[in-house]
């Protein structure tokens, strides 16, 4: 009996130890501050090892940051925002303290309380007042609080194949500036035959909705507008109709969009990489992907501004903070983000390092910063540019004139509905555009009714 009792005591003591150890672990997990006063933060966005150069730079940056900030340790993880695993990671306590998001995500994440309010910690952040206000708006909640910081931005234009332009008798230095010109150019490119497609667009996995949004913006319309404090669908309009009509005509009247539809970004990039596509709507950041994946030359590709003179869709990415992160971790995370991503003082070093390793410098990606900070970055980019900047002149010249519009609230849900519009006009010759718009607007109104 005594033996059993002592064994029971031992088990009880073991459980008590385990519980107290767990509590201790929990308490240190809460603040993230070790006995030596060092804060350890988990961050994602580290390039995978399959991208050895980017991965190496990231690791180097961590070392340099930690050297400059001895009280902060960075525990970096690969990967970015993945809706498939996000909730499971959050529920299981595995979500990083600082996590990567696309501009489509913050509004939903903020509404669901899945991000921390960082307003009070950014006030003293260097260059904070020079971040473009529109991009901070993406991370601003309905309560006025700030829930994240941007780290990259793009705006859509037309990526085009300069070689095919030449072959079709078009001037690659003067790409189309209106949708009518796009239509005309697409006809000439398609006339080359051998499976060449003049213009291609996405219509699957929410990417169709994303591009339809850009189409509507370029036609001078909107997807959603806020009236008297309530969001409403706005694409059942002339602009929305014109966009669908143009796509329908290019697909069915001109036959310049190929026969295969329900495409997504990878399909279209593959067509472009294979030299079988003339134009598609994309940000300049698509060019390195095509060049690297399909072993092409930067000289083969140009980028033009969004057709018409209205607006273009601006998207991007940034970082948000785990709602369970302690103030110490949030402060450390902000220091990391500023140092790594919003730091004009390091731009020259980064550009020099990248250009020597064949990493593209000088692509016309939009700037997150304004004023002196932007000027400093521009100067560095000019010095170390290693891609043919002349090919991007049409984009740079026109893009500055266009209004930059961000994505609508609850974007992913809305894009699911708008996918249907793209699919309808691209797969049905007898698509009833008015009916499609009316039905889709009703559905989107339902989605927007939940936006706070």
């Amino acid at each position: 009996m005594a033996g059993i009792q002592s064994r029971r005591r031992l088990i009880a003591a073991g459980i008590a130890c385990a519980l107290s150890a767990g509590l201790v672990a929990c308490s240190s997990e809460t603040t993230g501050v070790g006995k030596d006063g060092v804060v350890t933060i988990t961050v994602n966005g580290m390039p995978p090892k399959t991208q050895p150069v980017d991965h190496k730079y990231f690791v180097e940056d961590i070392k340099a940051f930690e050297k400059a900030h001895p009280k902060i340790r960075i525990d970096a993880r690969e990967g970015q925002m993945d809706p498939k695993t996000f909730s499971a990671k959050l529920a299981g306590g595995q979500l990083e303290d600082v996590y990567y998001v696309y501009f489509t995500d913050p509004s939903g994440l903020i509404q669901r309380g899945q991000g921390a309010d960082i307003s009070k910690y950014v006030k003293d952040m260097p260059y904070y007042d020079q971040i473009k206000k529109d991009y901070l708006k993406v991370f601003t909640g309905p309560d006025g609080g700030l829930y994240g910081l941007p780290n990259g931005q793009y705006s859509l234009g037309l990526v085009y194949n300069r070689a095919l332009f030449k072959k079709a008798g078009l001037d690659p230095d003067k790409p189309p500036t209106t949708w009518d010109e796009v239509r005309a150019a697409a006809k000439k490119i398609s006339a080359l035959g051998d499976g060449t497609v003049g213009y291609a667009d996405y219509s699957k996995n929410n990417q169709g909705g994303w591009h339809y949004t850009a189409w509507v913006y370029s036609m001078g319309g909107d997807i959603a507008v806020k009236e008297q404090g309530r969001w409403k669908a706005a694409f059942n309009s002339d602009a929305g109709r014109k966009a669908l009509q143009m796509l329908h005509d290019m697909r069915w009247t001109d036959n310049t969009m190929g026969t295969r539809q329900l495409l997504q970004i990878e399909d279209v990039q593959k067509m472009m990489g294979a030299g079988k596509l003339g134009m598609y709507m994309a940000g300049p950041d698509n060019i390195p992907t095509i060049v690297k994946q399909f072993e092409r030359e930067y000289e083969d590709y140009g980028v033009a501004g969004m057709p018409n003179d209205n607006a273009t869709l601006g998207g991007g990415s940034g970082f948000m903070f785990n709602p369970k992160a302690s103030p110490e971790k949030i402060k450390a995370g902000i220091e990391w983000l500023q140092w790594k991503y919003l730091n004009p003082d390091r731009t020259e070093f980064e550009d020099k390092r990248a250009s020597s390793n064949d990493v593209p410098i000088g692509l016309p990606l939009d700037r997150l910063l304004t004023g002196g900070a932007a000027a400093k970055q521009d100067a560095a980019h000019r010095t170390y540019a290693n891609v043919p900047q002349g090919n991007y002149k049409p984009f740079i010249e026109r893009n500055a004139q266009l209004e930059q519009k961000v994505e609508p609230p609850n974007a992913q849900q809305i894009y699911t509905v708008l996918d249907g519009l793209m699919q309808a006009v691209l797969t049905k010759k007898d698509a009833n555009i008015d009916q499609l718009l009316a039905d889709a607007a009703k559905k989107v109104d339902g989605i927007l009714a939940t936006v706070k």
Binding site: P83, K84, S87, L90, G195, L262
Partner: protein
């Protein structure tokens, strides 16, 4: 009338008394003797409870909650179900799933049975033919999908090239609202019919040869033998595979997810694809759980019929 009652009364009271004295020790002895068995049973039960029953119960509860995982879930009553039934895609998804199931039964039920009957007639190269039929099952689903995507490609795709050879018009296999679902069913049937064919082959193999011999002596034709011997003898297996196929095909996901993304124009949005969107695109786990509960109930009905059938046969 009272006497017999009184006479039986002591017997009734005596039995429990005996039990109360003997039962505990007997029970203890029985437990001791079967301790190992109970340990195995207990481990199994714990595993089931942890990995099967708990997620089911938790899933049902989540359907009544607003779930964010950032803060404690809040009870919202039937709100998720209300929103679910208000979503026009909910009805579309069920309609599409029903259509897929129906088509899958037409193709997927008849084709393996016919294949099994034909294979059963072969005397030579039996193993080789069986392996050939089973081969697609061994392919990873994503490989199957990518292969068929090429088959269906309206440009350089295999099917349209074959049609062209016979001077027939090219088809929009995945891009046409009318054809898309049929195309998905064909992929699914091709990928899964190997397993069902093997089950049918086993069933056919168990039919006593004397029955066929007797039928042949009576002058029965091949069609008559099939109708009067083969089908009645495999009726139970046919019924079971039919139910299992209904349960399986109602959970169709990979085909529309990879090949059409639910398009064109929502023509291939299935219940599981919509559920996936709620959970992993919109991060609305309350809605996704409500939808999975509805699916669970519907499939539960088919499972109940299946159990009933297998039990009655047993």
């Amino acid at each position: 009338m009272a006497a017999p009652t009184l006479a039986r009364a002591p017997q009734r009271t005596a039995k429990p008394q005996k039990h109360s004295v003997d039962h505990p020790s007997r029970l203890r002895r029985r437990i001791r003797e079967n301790l190992t068995a109970y340990a195995f049973l207990g481990a199994g039960l714990i595993c089931f409870a942890l990995f099967s029953w708990y997620p089911i119960v938790r899933g049902i509860l989540l359907g009544f909650q607003q779930v964010t995982f950032a803060r404690p879930s809040t009870w919202v009553g039937w709100e998720n179900y209300q929103r679910l039934f208000d979503d026009p895609l909910f009805a579309t998804a069920w309609k599409n799933t029903g259509y897929f199931t129906l088509l899958a039964l037409v193709f997927g039920f008849v084709a393996p049975f016919a294949t099994a009957v034909v294979l059963n007639e072969f005397r030579h190269a039996r193993s080789y033919l069986r392996m050939t039929v089973y081969l697609p099952v061994m392919l990873p689903p994503i490989v199957t999908m990518l292969l068929w995507r090429w088959f269906y490609d309206p440009g350089p795709g295999l099917f349209n090239n074959v049609l062209e050879m016979f001077h027939l018009p090219a088809q929009q296999w995945l891009e046409s609202e009318n054809l898309a679902m049929v195309s998905l069913v064909l992929v699914s049937t091709w990928a899964n019919m190997g397993t069902t064919t093997l089950i049918y082959l086993a069933a056919l193999g168990s039919i006593p040869g004397e029955l066929y011999e007797a039928a042949e002596l009576d002058g029965a034709s091949i069609r008559q033998r099939l109708w009067h011997v083969t089908i009645p003898q495999t009726r139970f297996i046919l019924m079971i595979t039919l139910l299992l196929q209904i349960i399986g095909t109602m959970q169709v996901f990979v085909e529309p997810y990879v090949l059409t993304g639910g398009g064109p124009n929502d023509a291939t949005v299935t219940v599981l694809l919509l559920l996936y969107r709620y959970a992993f695109v919109y991060n609305d786990f309350g809605m996704a759980s409500a939808m999975s509960t509805v699916l669970f109930i519907v499939l539960g009905l088919f499972a109940a019929v299946y159990l009933r059938l297998t039990r009655s046969k047993g």
